[in-house]
Symmetry: C2
Subunit: 170 residues, 2 copies
Amino acid sequence: MALQLLTHREGLGKLQQALSAVDAEIKTCSTCSNISLGDPCHICTDDTRDAGSLCVVEGVDDLWAMERSGAFKGYYHILGGVVSAIDGVGPEDLTIDQLVNRVEKGAFEEVILALGASVDGQTTAHLISRKLKPLGVDVSALARGIPIGAEVDYMDDGTLSLALKGRQVF
Amino acid sequence: MALQLLTHREGLGKLQQALSAVDAEIKTCSTCSNISLGDPCHICTDDTRDAGSLCVVEGVDDLWAMERSGAFKGYYHILGGVVSAIDGVGPEDLTIDQLVNRVEKGAFEEVILALGASVDGQTTAHLISRKLKPLGVDVSALARGIPIGAEVDYMDDGTLSLALKGRQVF
């Protein structure tokens, strides 16, 4: 990429312009921390969405994944990461206080924690759940189980245990 | 492997003996189709297991995976495959009739379908469920969702939709 730019110098200016346009035009939503052309973002300003449910995700890529699936119609809150002892990320580095604020003020009936099924993701989910439950809101988490297309004999023990525990009436 | 046997002829006899020992000693359980040293197998003859629940799996490898997880304490039924239009496998090629027989006779309260989350697996699950429900037994299936260790943004749309639909109170 660097060589391409060095040998095609006319690209340098365009890239500079694009970078400054990104810097000038792409905003971080002060409500949900999504990136968008405006603040508040196009999701927070969309009145047609389900005002009762809030989905908590780790990053913008997770929000995109949820939107791509088309399954969720409510609003989002981006944490900006998960607490991690190894990476030195504490609760104060995330937007947990803003989340508590939104839930206190908002008319959300349910908060859905769509965090990764890793140790850090689950630690963060527990932390948030402890802060939100006293506010009288329903807190739920994405189902753990066997992903579509997967075979039973290739699944790890933990996933099989959770899939069995969370089995659903057929 | 073939070259190893050709150059170390003394191995040929041992392998022949091992193969004939397998043929003579390893039995297929006439109840659940598991492979074991006896018929009925060591699981079907284990009185300490939960007699109320029956887990339906595709093959012996799936039974091993469930046993390895330690989460299931009931009995098993091995189908010997799943119905598949492409592979030309019909319901009559599987042990579905034997399964219906066992449920009719047995004191099972719940049948858990632990089949793969593929199209063929789900078709088979629907087929079995239609045959078992009139017998008054509870039919459930392993939870679909996000496997342990997985990140939300790497999951496919279908899995995310199912994980959201099957979300559990935190």
